[in-house]
């Protein structure tokens, strides 16, 4: 069952027009937050809603906010719109089709944590989204929703738009902060965490576009409305990007807890005469599930319990026509290419896996290469500075184990060495 919360009105009206957005109740929750609820009220509602981050890690949003030290330093909210996780295209839709909702979410979040100057970091390739968002921001500013003395109060929220330069790693929150500061986009060593020492060395929260966009709805309908949907520890709605071997790929907003099979059907089901054999449920960094898992509930905890993750909410379905050696190479190549190169295992190990898979694909593989792939992928995992390095093993290991025959068929073509 699809729902319309964030996606309400998309495809029906032009939500980029502030008047249309306002006519449907837009910016009313921003007004209510400032004039009635207060920052503590917003914080409390967010906490009770059970909202978890939609950027990948699924961390409870109100908890993250509560880590900010009360030390009187300036604080920053940064909206992460670098969306580059393979298979993920939900933030792009929100940015391009309903930018005011994103702005309203950022404003409410900023107010809740006490950020007087917030930032949105937009993926370099989103030229259209950047243009649309800037135009919407100008409208919001002209309407008095952004800037100083909001609604006649002493609340100030400035919003600066920054466009990235096209690096996946800049979606990782500390690399993003480096990039925003004009430094090389590479993750920072933690601790210290951004909540303590983030943008320009000050306490900072980084939140995903979708996470923040849910805030106005939580305020409007009440936290209980959000918390009552889906599994108790994984509540609310989610915009899921479905792609791969399906008839109608796209974004589908559903309650968490919807089954994978339902999501497959929403996307029109498998292609004619084909059968789904594997599901990557949470972006390129997640391990595959298989046809026997189609009945699973799609939520943070169920995915984790099955050795994978919900991640950014991007599902790729693979049918029985898939060459998993090629699929594995495509993904490994992506990570090797996007590694910032800072730390040894990710930099060297990713590249090693890439050249080994290429060799296998071109008929130069030997039997022992398959075990070596697994061993190298494993030994590069868990010892990196940021999670990117650990993102290579899950998909590779899951498909090598499941479709070992496919990998063996490539190496078997090699003449036995004398």
């Amino acid at each position: 069952m699809v729902v319309k919360v964030l996606t309400e009105g998309i495809g029906e009206v032009d939500l980029c027009d502030i008047e249309i957005y306002r006519a449907r109740g837009g910016y009313e929750q921003w007004r209510r937050a400032v004039t009635a609820l207060g920052a503590a009220g917003v914080m409390d509602a967010t906490n009770r809603s059970g909202l978890r981050g939609r950027g990948g890690a699924g961390f409870p949003t109100a908890r993250k906010w509560s880590f900010l030290p009360a030390n009187g330093r300036p604080r920053y909210l940064v909206c992460n719109s670098d969306e580059a996780e393979p298979g993920t295209f939900k933030d792009r839709m929100l940015l391009e089709r309903t930018p005011h909702q994103v702005i309203e979410g950022i404003l409410i979040g900023s107010y809740a944590i006490g950020s007087r100057h917030s930032f949105i970091y937009i993926r370099g390739e989103f030229a259209e989204g950047y243009r649309i968002f800037k135009a919407a921001l100008a409208q919001a500013r002209a309407a008095g929703f952004v800037g100083e003395r909001i609604f006649g109060s002493d609340v100030t929220v400035e919003l600066t738009v920054h466009r990235g330069a096209g690096a996946y790693i800049c979606g990782e929150e500390t690399a993003l902060l480096n990039s925003l500061e004009g430094r090389r986009g590479e993750p920072r060593l933690k601790p210290p965490f951004p909540a303590v020492k983030g943008l320009y060395g000050e306490p900072t929260v980084v939140n995903n576009v979708e996470t923040l966009a849910y805030l106005p709805h939580i305020l409007r309908n009440g936290p209980e409305w959000f918390a009552s949907v889906g599994p108790q520890r994984s509540p609310g709605f989610k915009v899921v990007s479905v792609s791969g071997h399906v008839k109608r790929p796209g974004n589908f907003e559903v309650p968490l807890g919807t089954t994978l099979r339902e999501l497959l059907e929403l996307a029109g089901g498998p292609l004619e005469g084909r059968k789904i054999v594997a599901i990557q449920p949470g972006g390129g960094s997640s391990a595959c599930l298989f046809e026997e898992h189609l009945g699973l509930s799609y939520d943070f905890d169920t995915m984790a319990a099955h050795g994978t993750m919900l991640g950014s909410g991007a599902i790729v379905f693979f049918d029985d026509s898939t060459d998993f050696v090629k699929a594995a190479l495509a993904l490994v190549r992506f990570y090797a290419h996007e590694s910032c190169g800072q730390c040894t295992p990710c930099r060297e190990g990713g590249h090693w896996l890439e050249v080994t898979l290429e060799r296998i694909l071109h008929g130069g593989g030997v039997e022992s290469d398959i075990d070596m792939l697994l061993a190298v992928a494993h030994q590069l995992t868990g010892i990196n500075l940021c999670p990117l390095g650990d993102s290579i093993e899950p998909f590779l290991a899951s498909v090598v184990k499941r479709f070992e025959g496919q990998f063996r068929s490539y190496v078997r073509t090699l003449p036995v060495p004398a």
Partner: protein, 755 residues
């Protein structure tokens, strides 16, 4: 009130360790002599968490953790050995060696390479890589001093972090991403820094090497001597590495926390080749008319002694002058002083350049005072050029402790950190209201300004502020020469008065110890030359026939600083040992040995070695009390001209000076070209463009063909030239003098016309 840091106790490989709270695990392990391998971590640069070689196992933590960024906790149980740790280490080493060329047999780091050492200790000996190794550029000329081999680089970022954290110059960066990443300069321009050599020591592998040391030796063939750098007054500890009579390289002393903090500047590090230059004087030389004749030491000393006795008998000790001493070691200074006093000679002055004073007076500070100051004020020439490693402390104070850096006068601070500039000392009043600890760095040149500063500091001190004063010496041991009394006492002649007496024909003998007043004395080259020509007998000790030596009658071959033993003061007055690291040419004698020979000839009793050693290692304060010299700072007001026009500033440069640096051809690229520095606005007003050739003139004195450099840091209305360049001697000009610039030509047009 200081509270003792709290301590925590943890266990490392079963051994209990107690360390202060906040200690990093990697440091705590050193307390129990446990080796945790590191590449990117460096105690002076802090953790970076990049290489991942320092993995350890911590009880109750499922994943291996990096020891370099883990802070100790009470009761923590750490294992640096065992299968899990060893697997992690082996994995990281395998990754590091994957595309590493392993060209150890031709790599300068071989034998002292952390990658080699850890691979042997923890590696697996076999690579599973079936592919061809990735090739990266080799032997890249990174700048005048450094060669980069990208293939060997393990991207630990120590070099780029040094260039950011310590120097704040930020020219070294990592370029590109993933396996394609390489070290490069941010702009692609050559890597130029006064501190470039340090990256070769920080580099844990053979990726960064010094041009002067490439393919020269193996570490196990080198014999190391620890000494103190004698190239400027900072006093950095220095290791000299020698093989078969050749000094092959110099290295920092990482534990030298009180002075250099383990860094060296490029002058201290790279200016060593001169000792073997073929132009070095290797026997005493006598000049008879225009002809130089080699003399034996006996004949040379006899000649000198006889001339001294004659002059004493005929014209008295007032007809004898003694100059120099700021390059000598304390023992040598004491011997010069002793012999001259025994002969009743009082016309003694170490100050053969612009500096009038090398001691900070009663408020002298330590380098720690400098680092902990909340405001650092530089008056006159900034230490960034005259005392390079001291400037790293200043940068640290500004960058890490938030100190304010304020420069006063015609010279900007040039420290690569934010600084403000004030035109006059009097502008300082009121800007230091909230500051409690002030460090004051004065170049010791303008005595009147020094007196004005002293009054201002006395006022600040009276307000209860902690004031510390620093005076970098113009010569390495200026502080020693001054403290040990190479100054004219009781109305005797200072340098200028001696030169005037010489011109007036009343000076009969002039003895010059390791000094080159023709190039450095502000009376100007022509004036000094004329004076020297009128003295019947001039004797000079030096390594080379300098502008001054060429006018002497007797030139004695001296020893370089790393060829002799003794002590020297650094600019804060701390005593350091100087040790012979290298055998001098057979016929060279140190100035001290020369004094001993002279004393023997003249029948002068010498102090006992014990007495000499006591004074040479005493503190300046003890000496002041014991030897009882009042420093007589004769005033030498430099030619001043208040008229409107361009004001001349004369700056120091680490690679200027007509001495040693001019006698090592490998340093050619580092030597400053004769030029002048202008702010863009000043240049525009004068119709001068970047790289134009310009003549600079004042009162009939001219420097020709100076290359103009425009610098946004330079002050308006000021033109800066560099002191001590033999091709364009600045000592014909005075600091603050009004100069005119003319005969402006585009250097390109000129180059074109030649073709």
């Amino acid at each position: 009130m200081t509270t003792l840091p709290k301590e925590v106790t943890l266990s490392i490989d079963g051994l209990p360790v107690t360390v202060p709270e906040g200690t990093l695990l990697v440091e705590a392990a050193k307390a129990v002599q446990t080796d945790i391998p590191v590449y990117c971590y460096h105690p002076k640069l802090g953790p970076a968490g990049l290489c991942r070689i320092c993995l350890v196992e911590i009880e109750k933590t499922p994943k291996l953790q990096i020891a370099c960024n883990t802070v100790v906790a009470e009761g923590m149980v750490v294992r640096t050995q065992g299968p899990k740790v060893e697997d992690g280490r082996r994995a990281v080493l395998e990754f590091l060696l994957l595309n590493h060329p392993l060209d150890c047999p031709i790599c300068d780091k071989g034998g002292e390479c952390d990658l080699q050492d850890y691979s042997i200790a923890y590696g697996q000996g076999m690579s599973r890589l079936a592919e061809r190794k990735e090739l990266k550029p080799k032997a890249i000329d990174l700048g005048p001093t450094i060669v980069l081999d990208d293939e060997r680089c393990i991207v630990c970022q120590r070099c780029s972090r040094f260039d950011e954290i310590v120097t704040n110059e930020r020219s070294l960066v990592v370029k590109d991403r993933g396996q394609r990443d390489v070290i490069a300069t941010a702009t692609g321009a050559p890597y130029r820094s006064n501190f470039s050599g340090n990256v070769t020591e920080l580099c844990p592998v053979g990726a960064l090497t010094s041009k002067t040391y490439r393919f020269r030796s193996r570490p196990w063939d080198l014999q190391r001597t620890r000494t103190t750098c004698q190239q400027c007054s900072v006093g950095c500890a220095l290791n000299v590495d020698e093989r078969h009579g050749n000094v092959l390289r110099t290295m920092s002393v990482p534990s030298d926390d009180a002075v250099s903090e383990g860094w060296l500047c490029d002058r201290g590090r790279y200016n060593v080749g001169f000792y073997a230059d073929e132009r070095r004087i290797t026997s005493p030389l006598g000049r008879f008319g225009d002809e130089w004749v080699q003399l034996s030491w006996d004949d040379a000393i006899e000649l000198w002694a006889t001339r001294l006795e004659e002059a004493l008998a005929s014209a008295g000790s007032a007809s004898i002058g003694v100059l120099g001493g700021g390059r000598l070691l304390n023992e040598e200074i004491l011997l010069v002083r002793h012999v001259m006093r025994a002969l009743g000679i009082a016309n003694v002055d170490w100050r053969t350049g612009r500096q009038r004073q090398a001691s900070p007076g009663a408020r002298g500070g330590t380098y720690d005072d400098l680092e902990n100051a909340q405001a650092i004020v530089t008056l006159g020439r900034p230490p960034s050029q005259s005392a390079p490693v001291m400037d790293l402390r200043i940068r640290k104070a500004v960058l890490r402790n938030g100190a304010r850096l304020i420069s006063i006068g015609a010279h900007p601070a040039s420290s690569f950190v934010p600084a403000t500039h004030l035109a006059r000392l009097s502008d300082l009043a009121g800007t230091l209201a909230e500051v409690e600890r002030i460090a004051f760095v004065w170049d010791g040149i303008d005595a009147a300004l020094g007196a004005e500063a002293e009054a201002a500091l006395a006022k600040l001190a009276a307000e209860g502020k902690h004031v510390s004063v620093f005076v970098p010496g113009e010569t390495p041991n200026a502080r020693g020469a001054e403290a040990l009394g190479l100054l004219p006492a009781g109305g005797a002649l200072d340098t200028r008065a001696q030169l005037e007496a010489a011109r007036g024909g009343t000076l009969r003998i002039l003895s010059i110890f390791g000094a080159n007043p023709v190039l450095h004395h502000p009376a100007g080259a022509a004036f000094v030359r004329e004076a020297l020509k009128r003295v019947p007998f001039v004797v000079a000790t030096d390594l080379f026939l300098t502008e001054t030596g060429r006018l002497a009658h007797l030139v004695l071959p001296a020893k370089a600083a790393f060829e002799k033993d003794g002590h020297s003061f650094d600019l804060t007055g701390a005593v350091h040992a100087v040790n012979a690291a290298h055998g001098a040419p057979p016929d060279a004698l140190s100035d001290g040995e020369v004094m001993i020979a002279l004393a023997a000839h003249l029948g002068i009793d010498l102090p006992s070695p014990r007495e000499l050693a006591d004074w040479a290692t005493a503190s300046p304060a003890t000496i002041a009390n014991g030897l009882g010299d009042a420093a007589l700072c004769g005033s030498l007001a430099p030619a001043r001209d208040g008229a409107a026009g361009l004001r001349l500033a004369i700056a120091a440069h680490p690679f200027a000076g007509g001495g040693t640096v001019y006698f090592d051809d490998r340093l050619g690229e580092l030597r400053p070209r004769p030029g002048l520095l202008l702010s863009p606005a000043t240049a525009q007003a004068a119709g001068i463009g970047e790289a134009d050739l310009v003549d600079l003139a004042a009162g009939g004195r001219v420097l020709h063909d100076l290359v103009a450099t425009l610098d946004g840091n330079a002050l308006e209305g000021v033109v800066t030239i560099v002191d001590g360049l033999p091709e364009a001697p600045a000592n014909d000009f005075g600091e603050g003098e009004t100069v005119t610039l003319g005969n402006v030509r585009s250097s390109r047009a000129l180059a074109g016309s030649v073709v």
